[in-house]
């Protein structure tokens, strides 16, 4: 008797619990609805949703496949992708930052774009070669394909240049520093340039670009970190010195944690220059700066280039798109990728977002023929280099980015960063990266 009552209670609890747990189960798939996690490309998630839903109406009309869009901020995207990779519950199609391509490829969460699948998208040759270089580890079929193209360039405030008597954009690094100095008037709270000193991703990108200009090798052929080199130190030194030595950057910038905030400083005229990706264009417009008020020139390099140095003016930046291995609608998912990478949609979406098409056949649109976008697309196609496509790339960004962030904190507080400090910081970062503590296969 007692046992029966006891077992009754247990059964009741189990029933309750299972009904709770079933709440987590996946919704029934009808095979005609895709879930799409879109990255935040526009000014706001609302704007993104509006832009994408407009296009997906066409897609649904043509194919009968419905698309359920969720826009996810960049700060959460990687964690959400990781979470869904672990649980197996997630969207069918997802956007990702293209520098994560190899790291995420290592998780095996995405469907490889085999030759056959690439043919469905119109073939590998359609895509820009540089953008295609940032889609996964070399020698393997890409696990994602490019979607929106971005590159770094130097935005400058035309009125401030005129006022300071600067007629030509600087062509090399020392001219660049001179121009920044001419623009700097600390007593009027006007600075030569602005940067996001507390953002580890931005810092890592700059370390990559400037380090490559100095001839730094970030990794050896076995994928071991080798960035604690004099060349890398020179590159980082050039970046941090803008605040510590040349004093052309407001020390407050050491606290800026996102590129958006730096864009704000530029758009309000607190700084004459800003090194940013072309995605900043939308934000600059939103902050009230008109298109004729700013111009763009490529990031300068030292002249002459140091031995082994390359004229790298940007990393191959951008957003990729991938299909989940767990998707029950892989065929429809690939169809969606095909739609989004078609010449027509590439032209429409990239125009709206201020980004660059990643396929050559979409450049006919006159919207991409402005001075600024021509400069950015030339940089992307000709003088950008992909970040190392190795599984540990994410650790490079976190360790080196954090090291540079701490150097900026130093530069902001007591304004002296010696060469040894930089070498020490890089050494420590490299030690952390090498002793990954089981971060290898």
């Amino acid at each position: 008797m007692r046992h029966r009552r006891l077992s009754g209670v247990i059964v009741l609890i189990l029933v309750l619990a299972s009904s709770l747990l079933s709440g987590c189960a996946r919704e029934q798939d009808d095979g005609r609805t895709l879930t799409y996690w879109a990255s935040n490309q526009g000014n706001s998630p609302q704007q993104d949703r509006r832009i994408l839903n407009e296009e997906f109406e066409k897609f649904t009309a043509r194919t009968g496949i419905e698309v359920n869009v969720e826009v996810i901020g960049w700060g959460d995207l990687l964690n959400k992708i990781l979470g869904s990779a672990v649980s197996g519950v997630g969207p069918d199609v997802v956007n990702l930052g293209n520098t994560w391509a190899a790291s995420l490829q290592a998780t095996g969460a995405f469907v490889p774009f085999t030759e056959e699948r690439m043919q469905r998208l119109g073939g590998r040759e359609r895509f820009l070669e540089t953008s295609m270089s940032s889609t996964g580890m070399s020698g393997r079929p890409p696990s994602s394909v490019p979607l929106y193209g971005l590159s770094y360039g130097v935005f400058y405030n035309k009125a401030m240049f005129r006022e300071a008597g600067i007629e030509q954009p600087p062509e090399n690094w020392s001219q660049f520093v001179d121009v920044a100095r001419d623009l700097t008037r600390p007593n009027q709270d006007q600075w030569g340039m602005t940067l996001a000193g507390a953002s580890y991703t931005e810092n890592a990108h700059f370390a990559f670009m400037l380090g490559n200009q100095e001839g730094a090798q970030l990794f050896d052929s076995d994928g071991r970190a080798t960035f604690a080199s004099p060349q890398m130190a020179s590159g980082v030194q050039r970046y941090v010195e803008l605040m510590s030595e040349h004093e052309v950057v407001n020390p407050d910038d050491a606290e800026i944690g996102s590129a958006t905030e730096a864009v704000g400083n530029f758009a309000t005229g607190e700084a004459g220059m800003l090194v940013a990706q072309n995605s900043a264009i939308a934000a600059i417009r939103a902050a009230g700066m008109k298109d004729g008020e700013w111009g763009v020139f490529p990031l300068p390099t030292p002249d002459p280039l140091p031995e082994g140095g390359e004229a790298v003016r940007s990393h191959v930046a951008g957003t990729n798109i991938a299909v989940y291995r767990n998707s029950e609608n892989k065929d429809a998912a690939i169809e969606l990728v095909k739609f989004l990478t078609s010449a027509e949609e590439q032209s429409i979406l990239n125009e709206k977002y201020g980004s660059l098409p990643v396929v050559s056949d979409a450049y006919d649109n006159p919207a991409f023929n402005t001075d600024a976008l021509r400069t950015f697309s030339r940089i992307l196609a000709e003088s950008s280099k992909q970040v190392p496509m190795i599984p540990n790339e994410n650790r490079f960004e976190t360790t080196v980015g954090a090291a540079v962030r701490d150097l900026f904190a130093r530069a902001g507080t007591n304004r002296s960063v010696r060469r040894e400090d930089i070498a020490d910081a890089l050494n420590e970062a490299q030690q952390k990266m090498r002793s990954g503590g089981g971060s290898t296969r």
């Binding site: 006891l6 990781l82 990779a85 290592a106 580890y200 020390p251 606290e255 962030r405 507080t413 503590g437």
Partner: protein, 323 residues
């Protein structure tokens, strides 16, 4: 109650040959508390214990980006994660140790200051005077505010260029050029923010404790010529001991585990002077995708807190038994 009375009448009803009355099932007195606790126990297991055991298990695996998706088949590495986390010759071990030291200092200072402030405020508000209720309410505001809101307000105030802290300091001629969220000042900012958020709880608990001290003891002490300070030292603090014991333990566990305040205050750019252990673990698992190592560090943290809690409880209960 009804259960036991049914049980006692059962034998007589059982004597009837065709008992029309259905027999009520018996539950012995001993099993009642367990049955009543069973649902709570079940959910405690489901929500706390099972994930904890999962974390413990993960700490023995090499769970990185290569094995995340097939995490059930991640290779077993024994104590390797622990060895790595505790290798004080390597960069990771040193960092863990630093983070641990920072956390201890942070927890001790935060709990100590919160307790003193809470006690002082509770004592001041013990006597009734006009506006007492208002002040009580006001003191509780920081605790009632959502944590996100209050920490964001502090973040804005501590901003170097247009924060209120620096503006006030420069108005007073005390500088005002300082970074509060970078370098070593970050520790001070973190501690002040945490104390501001936490001390109202100490105030609330101690105020409740004060109500249980009979006023005639104070009267008697006053007749014997004890001053205010002496009264606090010899009556108030000892009689608040049971409350303080629990309060300090709870505050310590909360601050030692604090993640929200540093995470919101510094975003992903946490300076090493404010790198609390929970932030450190987060960065070592989520930013580097090394969940095995993160789990090992979490387990070490759990063990440490268990030891501290057990030691503290043993010490304080023995002391109160001796008293």
């Amino acid at each position: 109650m009804t259960v036991t009375s049914t049980a006692s009448t059962a034998p007589s009803s059982g004597a009837e040959p065709n008992g029309s009355r259905p027999r009520r099932p018996r539950i012995s007195k001993r099993s009642v508390p367990y049955l009543l606790l069973a649902p709570a126990l079940f959910f405690e297991l489901l929500v706390h214990i099972v994930p904890m055991l999962g974390g413990l298990w993960m700490s023995f695996l090499r769970l990185n980006q290569f094995f995340l998706r097939e995490w059930m088949s991640a290779p077993f590495t024994g104590l390797q994660n622990y060895r790595f986390a505790l290798d004080f010759h390597g960069a990771a071990g040193v960092e863990l140790f630093q983070s641990f030291a920072v956390t201890i200092a942070f927890a001790v200072i935060t709990v100590g200051v919160s307790w003193v402030m809470g006690l002082a405020a509770a004592l001041f508000l013990q006597r009734s005077f006009p506006g007492r209720t208002l002040l009580r309410g006001l003191f509780l505001v920081p605790y009632a505010l959502p944590i996100y809101t209050s920490v964001m307000i502090w973040k804005f105030m501590l901003d170097r260029s247009d924060g209120m802290v620096n503006a006030t300091l420069s108005d007073l001629g005390l500088g005002g050029e300082r970074f509060w969220l970078l370098g070593n000042n970050a520790f001070l900012s973190l501690t002040v923010t945490a104390i501001w958020r936490l001390w109202p709880f100490a105030f609330l608990a101690l105020m409740a404790g004060l109500q249980s001290i009979p006023t005639d003891i104070y009267d008697a002490a006053a007749v014997d010529g004890a001053g205010l300070w002496q009264q606090i030292r010899t009556i108030t603090v000892p009689m608040l001991q049971p409350v303080s014991q629990v309060l300090i333990l709870v505050l310590f566990l909360w601050t030692f585990n604090d993640f929200n305040v540093p995470y919101l205050l510094f975003d992903q750019a946490v300076p090493s002077s404010a790198n609390l252990i929970s932030i450190h673990i987060y960065q070592n698992s989520f930013l580097t995708w090394n969940f095995g190592l993160g789990s090992a560090m979490s387990t070490l943290l759990l063990l440490f807190l268990l030891v501290i809690t057990a030691g503290y409880l043993m010490l304080t209960s023995r002391r109160s038994r001796n008293a």
